[in-house]
Amino acid sequence: MDRWFWCDSSLSSGEAVAASAKSIRLYDGDKKTGYEDGHLTLTNQRLLWRHESQSSSLGVATEPANSVKASGSKKIHTGILGIERDIQKKQEAASQNISRAFEDLKNLMGLAKDMVSLSRSISNKIKEHSVSADDTTQFRSYLLSLGIDDPVTREKYGSATQYHHHLAREVARALEEPVQEAGGVMLLSEVYCRINRARGLQLLSPEDVVQACNLMRTLDLPLSLHTFESGVQVVQITGLDQDKVVKDTAQVLACHEGDGMSAGDLARECGVPLLLARERLLQAERCAQAVRDESSEGLRFYPNLFFSRS
């Protein structure tokens, strides 16, 4: 806590008067004190109050003396070396920020603002200085893959249901095309990864993604959540023709009448995740389009010759 103290009225070296006023009385809170009709001087280091009759002043330091010293020592490194050190220091601070940000998600959320402004300043620098064309395009593509400009956040929507409703819409909007490209079905885990990648920094928790996907059906969105009997959850195009999927699977199986197919074979052939390939085969089995063969070689599926041949 700062207090008034008696000190020398004369200015020390480097001290300069900034402002001064006459006939000033000091108060202790609301109470008047005996220190009245004085001369107040504000310097770059102190605030001084002096009665005309006295030679010494009452003073309060406005700035810690040692910081003045530090700024003085900094001045020594001017020139190119100094600038270089300055830049290096800034870089160190930035890289420290980055590594601290990735320590855990909590920190990341806390530092999100700094990170955003950092990325902005980088992009501004790129605009100002002509960095090589390759670097610029690469950086642009990074920024573009961050995707959603204005992610739905919990803070923006008060109630949890409102938040999930908006989130469901956002997921459907962002992922309709990728899901269509993947053949109409995408594993929930992949949906989680993709939406978080698209949002960049406003990360979602797995629970929120599941909640949002659960709501899709009620909102009449182009995507909806589907749970297989095995418990595997996928997001698929609403109204995806299950019969067609089964028929497609049966068609692929028919080409392997002799040796059958494992889930891995189907995954490779159709370019779908292993888990999804397995679900497709099981679904085909439920529709009597495939039959299983359990042996030491693992679980394989064959076309249902029991029906087609007899």
């Binding site: 059958g260 089995e285 299983r292 030491s296 599926f301 064959y302 029991f306 029906f307 041949r309």
Partner: protein, 175 residues
């Protein structure tokens, strides 16, 4: 004896895994029952021991490295029992008579033969029926004694025959 002609299912690997889909399993069990009975008929197999069933050629195909697992064999045998093609010898269900014709069908066939060869109201010994020269061209020739007895019992139950005991030999009178 001619080589048994295995059906196509026998070299189809999923045939040796019990199918999960109920409809498919039904078709699969149909095929199994048909295979076991026709195989038994061809090879003259009259009894199946549950503990040794997994060694039977019908339940494994070495050329495709597949064998019906024990619980699968159990299901097939139970299905055969349900269809009347297998009868347990006792309550422990460890052995069963394989009836590629059910006892009732055998009975009808024997009665038809008896009618055709004017044996109504006459008495035959069981040995005569199974091993006599006159039945040599009949399907029930060399039929297992126990199964023959079961067949005749079904006739007795429907009032078409009467079993008689001659001490160490048994006979039957067709009515």
């Amino acid at each position: 004896m001619t080589e048994f002609e295995w059906p196509w299912q026998y070299s189809f690997p999923p045939f040796f895994t019990l199918q999960v889909n109920a409809d498919v399993r039904k078709t699969q069990l149909d095929a199994w029952c048909a295979l076991v009975t026709s195989w038994g008929k061809q090879g003259g197999v009259t009894q199946i021991d549950v503990t040794e069933a997994s060694d039977l050629a019908v339940f494994k195909n070495a050329s495709i490295h597949r064998a019906l697992p024990p619980d699968g064999i159990q299901v097939v045998l139970e299905e055969l029992v349900r269809r009347g093609n297998l009868e347990w010898t006792d309550k422990t269900k460890r052995r069963g008579y394989l009836l590629w014709r059910s006892a009732g069908e055998w009975g009808t066939q024997i009665y038809k033969w008896a009618q055709g060869s004017s044996r109504i109201n006459t008495v035959c010994t069981l040995y005569e029926l199974a091993h006599g020269d006159e039945t040599a061209d009949q399907e029930f020739h060399n039929l297992d004694g126990d199964i023959l007895l079961k067949a005749l019992r079904t006739l007795e139950a429907s009032g078409k025959a009467e079993l008689m005991d001659f001490g160490d030999n048994q006979g039957v009178k067709f009515l």
